[in-house]
């Protein structure tokens, strides 16, 4: 039914069915047996399309509950209609940015290309401003005009000693901070990992928790814990330094630690070898909801969650550490 007369007939009948036909079109349809037959045919289609099976009550309630939970996590000021702002929180944004850019550990490889929140980018950009100002000050003190760019880079390296652990140069870091990674949401799927890439997915400390805004980002974050064959990376290749592990552990709250035993015990029966090895990873985070492997803590829509992988169903999970309430889940890419 692609020829023009039938297309016209279909359009006419469809508009008639929807009550969107002009008086002239109505008259044409009602005078044409074929057009009326087409209207009836499309009426059946409309009935079929509209007949959507309702969601199961349990699913509906779970989804509504998660939405209300997101509401509860909104700052009071935002719930009242006042836009969220750093200033309202009483924090100097430049200071916050500088602290953030210097204390948050860098992620490498795929994680480096992952979409990050605009807030983090702005914070990092503000940190750069501070660093550049420092560079200018240094230059004015030394009077050295020979190589401006290298002086600035050297200054940044001095100011942020924790960052270039993976052998990455600071100019590259600058480029990263000024590029909006959300423009390349799938760039992280490219398999360009080195061994070092695998390692650094120990979660950052709480101040620098990975911020995830949607299931896509959740899937990408979780997939970083998998190797190229989709196998879970065992912790013997995981956190490179004790300090990173300590950071990851500190991200879990005390209440998460207190609740960790029960859900972890539940999951032991169904856990696979990856799970057993996982015991050496951040142990404070509970395994719930069929999760076999914990990727680490993160912020999902502003809510602190545990990101984990359900190996059997090949899904990434985000749930609350304190009560295991599921916040989001998504198929792994």
């Amino acid at each position: 039914m692609t020829d023009e007369p039938n297309d016209q007939l279909g359009t006419l009948a469809s508009a008639y069915l929807d009550g969107e036909a002009s008086p002239e079109e109505i008259a044409r349809v009602e005078a044409d047996v074929d057009a009326l037959a087409e209207v009836e045919r499309l009426r059946q289609i409309r009935a079929l399309v509209a007949d959507v099976e309702p969601a199961a009550i349990s699913r509906r309630e779970a989804q509504l509950s998660a939405a209300l939970d997101a509401w509860d996590r909104l700052p009071d000021a935002e719930r009242d209609g006042t836009p969220r702002s750093i200033a309202a929180a009483g924090v100097d944004p430049i200071t916050a940015a500088a602290v953030s850019s210097m204390s948050a550990p860098r992620r490498s490889g795929r994680g480096r290309q992952r979409t990050r929140s605009n807030g983090w980018i702005m914070a990092a950009a503000a940190g750069l401003v501070v660093l550049l100002a420092g560079g200018l000050t240094l230059r004015s003190l030394t009077g050295d005009d020979a190589d401006d760019s290298s002086a600035a880079v050297e200054t940044e390296q001095n100011a942020a000693p924790a960052e270039p652990q993976d052998g990455e140069s600071s100019p590259a870091a600058i480029e990263e901070l000024t590029t909006d990674p959300s423009l390349e949401p799938n760039a992280d799927i490219a398999d360009t990992d080195t061994e070092a890439d695998v390692v650094v997915d120990a979660p950052p400390p709480e101040d620098g928790l990975e911020e995830l805004d949607n299931p896509d980002q959740l899937a990408i974050y979780a997939s970083d814990a998998l190797d190229d064959n989709g196998e879970v990376l065992l912790p013997d290749t995981a956190p490179a330094t004790q300090s990173e592990l300590d950071d990851a552990s500190s991200a879990g709250s005390a209440e998460e630690a207190a609740d960790a035993d029960a859900p972890a015990a539940d999951s032991v029966e169904s856990a696979e070898s990856a799970t057993e090895a996982q015991a050496e990873a951040p142990a404070e985070l509970p395994l719930c909801n069929g999760a076999d492997y914990i990727v680490g803590p993160a912020l999902y829509d502003g809510l602190q969650v545990v990101v984990a992988i359900d190996v059997d169903r090949d899904r990434a999970l985000a749930y609350r550490a304190d009560d295991c309430a599921m916040v989001a889940q998504v198929q792994l890419p």
Binding site: M1, N6, D7, G10, T11, A13, S14, A15, D18, E20, L36, A37, E40, R41, L42, R43, Q44, I45, R46, A47, L48, V49, A50, D51, V52, E53, P54, A55, R59, R60, Q63, L64, A66, A67, L68, A70, W71, D72, L74, D76, E78, R79, D80, G81, T82, P83, N186, N214, P215, D216, A219, D301, A328, Q329, V330, Q331, P333
Partner: protein, 205 residues
């Protein structure tokens, strides 16, 4: 369709921090939000993910909802976008092949069971047929037939001319009819409707 006056009052209360109002608002619109996700993202878990994502985005965006459009229109737009996101993500993933058992000859003998089977078959058939539609047709047909939006509202939501909406809906329905073999059925009796339970999916081979 939920009354807009109720929506306005509930939105107002929710924006002042009334959690119960938000709960009621979401419940009022849940079925349509779910239906949109189901029709656009398909009969998969993606639809559930899209629905969840839409609800959270609606909740988080509510403080900034300015009321310039109806709450429903705004919420359905979010749901449509969430469903399209899931649909696009799914298309980037490899899919398992579907087994087509459409050629089975065994017919149920119990008429009630037969009717149920036919109802399920109809739903599966329309799922398959919708899945075969391109995004633009799928969204237009869903907005019209599931959300019951008029052409002007759809044109505004999709930011396309009215004529484009009219054409997309007509062509989408015509493609669905062709895919569901409505073309092969006998002519419509002059006095009544043909029951949709005779709908069969097209054999892709």
């Amino acid at each position: 369709m939920p009354a807009k006056i109720d929506d306005a009052a509930l939105v107002d209360a929710a924006q002042r921090g009334d959690r119960a109002a938000l709960d009621q608002l979401l419940r009022l619109h849940y079925d349509r939000i779910h239906a949109v996700c189901r029709r656009i993202a398909g009969a998969t878990r993606d639809a559930d993910d899209a629905c969840q994502e839409a609800l959270i985005k609606i909740t988080r965006g509510l403080p900034r909802f300015d009321g310039n459009s109806a709450f429903g229109t705004w919420a359905y737009r979010i749901a449509t976008n969430a469903a399209l996101d899931e649909l696009r993500k799914r298309r980037r993933r490899p899919l398992l092949a579907l087994v087509d058992d459409d050629d089975r000859d065994d017919e149920p003998t119990d008429p009630v069971a037969a009717r149920r089977v036919e109802a399920v078959a109809d739903r599966l058939a329309i799922d398959e047929a919708m899945d075969a539609l391109s995004e633009e047709f799928r969204v237009a047909v869903t907005m019209r037939d599931v959300l019951d939006l008029d052409y002007a509202e759809i044109a505004e939501l999709l930011d396309v001319p009215l004529g484009t909406v009219k054409s997309r809906i007509a062509r989408g329905r015509t493609m669905l009819a062709g895919r569901l073999r409505l073309d092969d059925l006998p002519p419509i009796p002059p006095d009544g409707n043909r029951e949709p339970d005779s709908v069969r999916p097209i054999d892709p081979t």
